[in-house]
């Protein structure tokens, strides 16, 4: 930072020194007075000049100060004047181009692994591909890994089929994936059972019961349990779901879930009643009617199936059901309806 006081003081002291010199006094005292003024002026000038230096040039501090002082003090006239001129000339000099730490580098070449085509397996293709034991093992392994991103309800049956595959790596990978999924749900069931047992009020117990019903349903829906274990899961799910529906008879979502559980357990009439209840409580047709259509199909009431499908045809959002809707629409046209 520019220090004008320092400069003016230095100039004043140096002027006083020159006046002393011009007086012609040759005594020791006069010499000492001159040297004192000149030294003081040089010191102040050095401080001012140092304060104007850029940081890299200003360090180390004491040697730089000493240098400027020395030039000003020991070189007669030119030293002091030269430092003053340097103060004014320094900003006018072009700045030295510093070496930058950055280097220009060429664009990296794309590494081969980034050029690999992303493999995509369509759902129907994966199943057939996995069943083909003559396909390369490495490719089949990749297909199994890809199943990890598919919905569990879709992929779990395929993984289960692989448990009997001739290739051990495929069996083990499929087992690992199924085990991981099942473990998560069972851990949650264990936690919620503890919550249920420890609940001190009805809302807490009902919340745990609702979660337990959902978790047991997940075991069934994801195809993680079969045979006796499925029956056990259905039985447990029903136990908790009955408790929930008794507490929340007006909850349409609960009614639908209850219906699906009864549907799975083969209690079709009760399931039908639950579905109708869910509709009456306000669930839209696309959420409920497909299940009612399935029940009608099971009991061979095809007129009812056509009626329900006709109603669903008006809904645009049922992309997965469109093949079924088209089939029944075509069948209806054939039947002259």
């Amino acid at each position: 930072m520019f220090q004008p006081k320092l400069g003016l003081s230095a100039l004043a002291l140096e002027t006083a020194a020159w006046v002393q010199l011009a007086a012609g006094d040759t005594s020791d005292a006069a010499l000492l007075r001159y040297l004192g003024s000149h030294g003081g002026a040089s010191a102040l000038l050095a401080l001012m000049a140092w304060s104007l230096l850029p940081r890299p040039l200003a360090t180390p501090r004491l040697p730089v100060l000493g240098l400027i002082f020395g030039v000003s003090f020991f070189i007669p006239v030119l030293g002091f004047v030269g430092v003053i001129l340097a103060i004014f000339a320094l900003p006018l000099l072009p700045s030295r181009r510093e070496q930058l730490d950055f280097r220009a580098v060429p664009l990296p070449a794309l590494d081969p692994h980034e050029k690999q085509d992303v493999t995509s397996f369509r759902q129907a293709g994966v199943r057939q591909f996995l069943k083909n034991e003559r396909a390369p093992v490495a490719q089949r392994l990749r297909a199994v890994v890809a199943l990890g991103n598919a919905p569990s309800a879709v992929s779990n049956p395929m993984l289960r089929e692989l448990l009997n595959d001739a290739t051990e790596d495929l069996r083990l990978l499929a087992y690992g994936m199924l085990d991981t999924r099942e473990k998560k749900i069972n851990a949650a069931i264990h936690t919620e059972r503890a919550e249920y047992a420890a609940a001190v009020d009805d809302p807490g117990r009902q919340l745990a019961a609702r979660r337990l019903a959902g978790l047991y349903w997940e075991l069934i829906y994801q195809g993680l349990v079969h045979g006796d274990l499925m029956e056990h899961a259905a039985h447990e799910g029903f136990k908790y779901m009955a408790e929930v529906i008794a507490a929340e008879p007006a909850n349409a979502g609960v009614a639908l879930q209850f219906g699906r559980l009864l549907h799975h357990m083969g209690r079709h009439e009760e399931a039908e009643a639950a579905y109708r209840g869910a509709r009456a409580l306000g669930l839209p047709a696309p959420r409920v009617e497909p299940y009612r259509a399935e029940l009608a199909f099971i009991r061979r009431d095809f007129d009812e199936v056509r009626r329900i499908i006709k109603e669903l045809d008006d809904w645009q959002g049922l992309s997965r059901l469109q093949p079924v809707v088209r089939l029944w629409r075509h069948e209806a046209r054939q039947a002259g309806q």
Partner: protein, 516 residues
Amino acid sequence: MKTDDFPKADDADVALLLEGTFPYVSGGVSSWVNQIIRAFPDIRFAIVFLGSRRSDYGAPKYAIPANVVHLETHFLHDDIVAVEPRAKPAPRRGDVDTYAEVKRLHDGFKGKPDGLEAFARIARELQPGGRLTVDDFLHSEVSWEMIAERYRHYCTDPSFVDYFWTVRIMHQPLWLLGKVARELIPVRALHSISTGYAGFLGALIAHARSIPLVLSEHGIYTKERKIDLYQNEWIRDNRNVFQKDPADLSYFRQMWIRFFEWLGRLTYDAADPIIALYEANRLRQVADGARDERTFCIPNGISLARLSPLRARQPDSPPPVLCLIGRVVPIKDIKTFIRAMRRVVNLMPEAEGWIAGPEDEDPGYAEECRNLAESLGLADKVKFLGFQRIDEILPKVGALILSSISEALPLVVLEGYAAGVPSITTDVGSCRQLIHGFGPEDEAIGAAGHIVGIADPAALADAAVALIGNPDSWRAARQAGIRRVERYYSDAMMFGAYRKVYDKALGVAQTTGGAH
């Protein structure tokens, strides 16, 4: 017994390199090691035990035989800092020439030639006094450059930080093994019971000292690590939805799998002979890189003299008890057995399922099993007995259950046969040949139980009920098991084969000097 009480010697004949087994972990492999040591009282054994952390192991589960003259323990995740106790980070360039060899080794992992030869040269450098130091690995510029270059070239995961730390964690134990290799007392031969870290240690010592390395594999270590790696959830995948190829395992999972595959290959390259329990495993070894001419089979054998008296203590008709004798760990798939018991109890209410094995190896899994039993309403029907002596438990059991997802040649099935107990097993390892026989003469003996697919509780339950619910079937299976084990799986046969292996290994060492 404390580690301070373990025997120490100045030299030994055979160094057994044991990873996670004898004397700290009870199970089939440890029992086999115990058998082998005691079968050769004239051979002076040194044992090098490799474990993960000291805190994972309690007291030794086996008494140390008298001919174990030296026993040392090393824990790969505890002892890392002991390799270079005064190491402090400091700027260093690193040894460029040695890292060129390391690069050749890693290029070999990617399929380029000379990888195995590069390892033979690196083996000595990895030991104290060598040029491939842990300091260089952790802090040198050449190490950094190599890690960064390989990340740029190969890694499909977007996180360099995770890649860097994966490389560190994966490789750091190798310097401890180098130190162990350097400081091991003079021995005439090495015998490793697995590939993995123990096998790698054997390869280091074999290359450095020019002494023979015998490899006996029970399970296939690499395969068992793959099982763990496919299932675990601690390996990260940082790819977002746009980066992820859904058909690719996460890069770090692949790295770990490849790491263990290559520990296996390096071991196979250094070992001769390479022994499997049965033919399918021998073929697997060859497929994984073992030279065919070095491989052969020596099946397990058990002590008939000890177990056959138990037959007299069994009732005429089968007790309604199904027993799984084994460690409570994921590879044994205890949960499938528990699920099967749900159906068994539905069909046969008096039946019980016993799980006789230690639960301390994987307490989390043991708790999952108990929770599963409780959630299936089997808390009073499925009993967790902990470790049990087989001569006490076998007479009370109708059938042994083996629901494992992977096995080799399970000793417990043979022990059951010797005691007059048939088995129901999954179709893994050599179980099919144990149940139904291998070859016309063996098959003519008949079925000593049933075989079912893995993770199929319904089939397991139906097979179990069919066996113990029908006394005639049970007696026929029981007799088939007794005849099979007496004819093909006695310990005398196994000991005779290993006597020849040791004689050859120790004879080779004598002529070459086996210099340290």
